[in-house]
């Protein structure tokens, strides 16, 4: 302590004062004067409270900045923010032999212990894991910024809903066909736009996502428009997960002589989803070690070098796009099954932004990071349900703070270790 100058309070106090005034200007009118018809209802205490909190935070930060502890914290942060990708050492794999079975064991037992509400949330969380993994291929590995990823998610979900309605398609058929259809959409979109770079690509994909949503919203006769379409319950070997069999089979609970409970449907969806997610993770890990995966990352780092080395950039980018789209379509099928109903508002730009946030917060290119981020971002709002009004507010603030403190995400991506596996 003695080696450092003791913290002065004058500068932080002045800054806190300025912050107070600014916060009062910013928050004052909106939170202090509430519109009621054409008149105003004053709540003058609220802006004062908000401004005081903000100013107190600024003061605390200003003082902390000057203490050795605070400086150490800042320095550590600065170091973390810089620096690129590291290569895995190879011995991490040993740990995996313990962790992976443990995670699988927990994952499989969860549906039998969690209540229905949390089971539903877990399914949603896993759907976002799948979406995150899909977008991670496009943004994280291939470096193509896609703001319309939700379009493929919608294609998957609507394929099941409309397929069931018009073609009598069931859950299992959709599980196979929807990803393929989504991949085709990916190819159709990808082909003309992949010669674009960076932001332009982002904007075109955003436009594409909006077009899909608007078509779903406006094609009343085919998609049901804003009213959406209902999705039948999934089946297993012809046994239907609903109270009364609507598709002309036997309901699952009757076949086994069980009391009806909608939990079975959720448990079934969860278990299939878990298997798909695990397979996907395994597949992606392998893919990153294969030439195609390496080509994606190489192309992200230096396109010109790659092209001069003979990598066909169009094919490589297109494959990334299609792989991502496929995963999105897969997630859509599960979403439709879980919700039993789809409509276009589930596929708006906010959803794309959320998936992108998962990928970026998790750490671009890091599978583990994406999984953790997806779980946190979908389960956290549910935990915060008590503060229902403030949760999205907190969520937005979290996104900003995370970017300031850990712009490279929770988990720093590591290059796969290319030594032969033990």
């Amino acid at each position: 302590m003695s080696t450092h100058a003791s913290p002065t309070f004058i500068r932080p106090l002045r800054e806190a004062g300025v912050t107070f005034v600014l916060a009062l200007i910013v928050f004052g009118p909106i939170s202090g004067l509430v519109l009621d018809g054409y008149s105003i209802e004053p709540h003058l205490g609220r802006p004062l409270l908000i401004a005081s909190i903000v100013a107190a935070g600024r003061l605390l930060f200003g003082v902390l900045e000057q203490t050795p502890f605070g400086q150490k914290l800042l320095a550590r942060n600065a170091r973390k923010a810089s620096g690129g990708v590291t290569v895995a050492r190879g011995d991490e794999y040993k740990l995996l032999y313990f962790v992976v079975p443990l995670v699988i064991a927990i994952g499989v037992t969860l549906p039998f212990v969690a209540n229905k509400y949390w089971l539903g949330n877990l399914i949603l969380a896993l759907i976002y894991v799948l979406l995150g993994l899909g977008l991670n291929i496009v943004v994280g590995l291939a470096g193509l910024l896609d703001l319309g990823f939700v379009a493929f998610y919608a294609v998957g979900a609507y394929f099941l809903a409309l397929g069931a309605q018009y073609l009598d398609i069931g859950f299992w058929t959709a599980l196979v066909c929807a990803p393929m259809l989504a991949a085709c959409f990916g190819a159709v979109l990808g082909f003309p736009v992949l010669r674009m770079h960076g932001d332009y690509l982002a904007i075109v994909t955003l436009g594409f996502g909006e077009i899909i949503r608007l078509v779903l919203n406006n094609w009343l006769d085919f998609t049901g428009g804003p009213n959406g379409a209902s999705v039948p319950a999934p089946t297993i070997f012809g046994l239907e997960f609903s109270r009364i069999a609507k598709q002309g089979g036997t309901p699952f609970h009757e076949f086994f002589g069980l009391e009806y409970s909608s939990d079975y449907k959720l448990m079934f969806t969860y278990l299939v989803l878990l298997v798909v997610v695990l397979l996907m993770v395994r597949f992606l890990t392998k893919l990153r070690q294969m030439p195609m995966g390496r080509a994606w990352e190489a192309l992200r780092e230096d396109e010109i070098a790659c092209r001069s080395l003979g990598i066909n950039h169009v094919i490589v980018k297109l494959s990334a796009f299609m792989m991502g789209a496929m995963t999105g379509g897969l997630a859509g099928v599960f979403f439709a099954t879980y919700q039993g109903f789809v409509n276009p508002t589930s596929f708006n730009f906010f959803e794309s932004a959320l998936i992108l946030a998962i990928v970026v917060l998790g750490g671009l290119g890091s599978t583990l990071g994406v999984i953790i981020a997806a779980l946190v971002l979908t389960l956290l709002p549910e935990v915060l349900r008590e503060f229902a009004d403030y949760r999205v507010l907190a969520f937005g603030a979290l996104m900003v703070l995370m970017m300031i403190w850990r712009p490279r995400g929770l988990i720093r991506p590591k290059r796969p270790h290319f030594a032969p596996e033990v």
Binding site: P29, I40, P192, G207, V360, P407
Partner: protein
């Protein structure tokens, strides 16, 4: 097709397009100077709509009768407070991220956008808000039955947008501040070496962008009289489309893109189909970008601000 219907749709499109253009200016200026899409811009516009209604209500509570006076005061107040918003957002969410990864500011911009929307929703409630109609004058051309008309507010919107664009173009091209902006945009490090306070320039650009959104917010609120906490997103994405269409980074481009988009929309919904007007706009955007990636007026190296 009757001339007056076509004329009226052109007026509708021009008004709508001018609104898009005004907001697009904010996107284009920020993109020009730091190469970043400011996703929170639409929500700043939404904030300014609320500020307009609040200010008008306060003024009428204090017994201000004169409508022009109330509007001028409201416009000034709204521009000032919204400017502070612009400054604060840059300071809190974007400045700490300079030199970070390219995606980081994008994510934090989305975060700010969520934050603003939900802040307004929590503070003001989620229901539709509105202001009474204040200016009801109208210009009409034609006879009693078949006419083309433009309300005074609509005319004000068109004049304000063109005025703002001309003023800003002059600012960028002719003033010392404009030169500093252009220098910062070309090469930030070099500009710093030459003694330009680039942090301040970037802040200024955010404030100007926010003030443009405030003009749009006030005039649009006067025109439609109704808004909610979600208008920022809907209008923002259109304005953004307009900015890209015209060539992001170019001021006249933003205006041109806005007006084209507005005309597309109203002509398409007037003579083809209301349902698919947005699909049509976005399709135009995608096609323009495929065949002319830098937009209509955007020339990658020249004149970007």
């Amino acid at each position: 097709m009757d001339w007056h219907i076509l004329g009226q749709q052109l007026v509708n499109g021009l008004t709508l397009g001018s609104i898009y253009g005004l907001i697009a200016i904010g996107y284009t200026m920020v993109y020009g100077i730091i190469g970043m899409i400011n996703f929170a811009h639409g929500d700043v516009y939404m904030i300014s709509a609320y500020l307009t209604a609040i200010s008008l209500a306060v003024l009428s509570a204090f017994g201000v009768e004169s409508v022009p006076f109330a509007i001028v005061v409201t416009l000034g107040l709204t521009m000032f407070i919204t400017g502070v918003y612009g400054w604060s957002i840059e300071r809190v969410a974007y400045r700490p991220l300079r030199g970070s990864t390219r995606l980081a500011p994008l994510i934090s911009a989305i975060g700010i956008s969520l934050l603003l929307q939900n802040y307004v929703q929590v503070a003001q409630g989620a229901r539709n808000q509105g202001i009474p109609s204040l200016i009801d004058g109208v210009f009409r051309v034609g006879n009693d039955k078949d006419f083309v008309q433009m309300t005074h507010v609509q005319l004000l919107i068109v004049i304000a947008s063109f005025g703002a664009m001309a003023g800003l173009t002059w600012l960028i091209q002719r003033t010392s501040l404009g030169r500093q902006c252009r220098a910062t945009q070309q090469d930030r490090h070099m500009a710093e070496i030459l003694g330009i306070n680039t942090d301040r320039i970037i802040s200024t650009v955010f404030v100007i962008g926010a003030a443009m959104a405030a003009i749009a917010g006030t005039l649009v609120t006067l025109n439609y009289g109704s808004f909610d906490f979600f208008v920022g997103f809907v209008t923002g994405i259109k304005a953004f489309t307009a900015a890209v269409l015209g060539g992001i980074g170019s001021l006249p481009g933003a205006m041109l893109g806005g007006i084209l988009l507005g005309l597309f929309e109203s002509l398409f919904s007037g003579f083809v189909n209301t349902d698919y007007k947005d699909v049509f706009s976005f399709s135009v955007l995608v096609l323009v970008l495929i065949f002319r990636p830098s937009g209509l007026l955007g020339r990658p190296e020249v004149e970007k601000v």
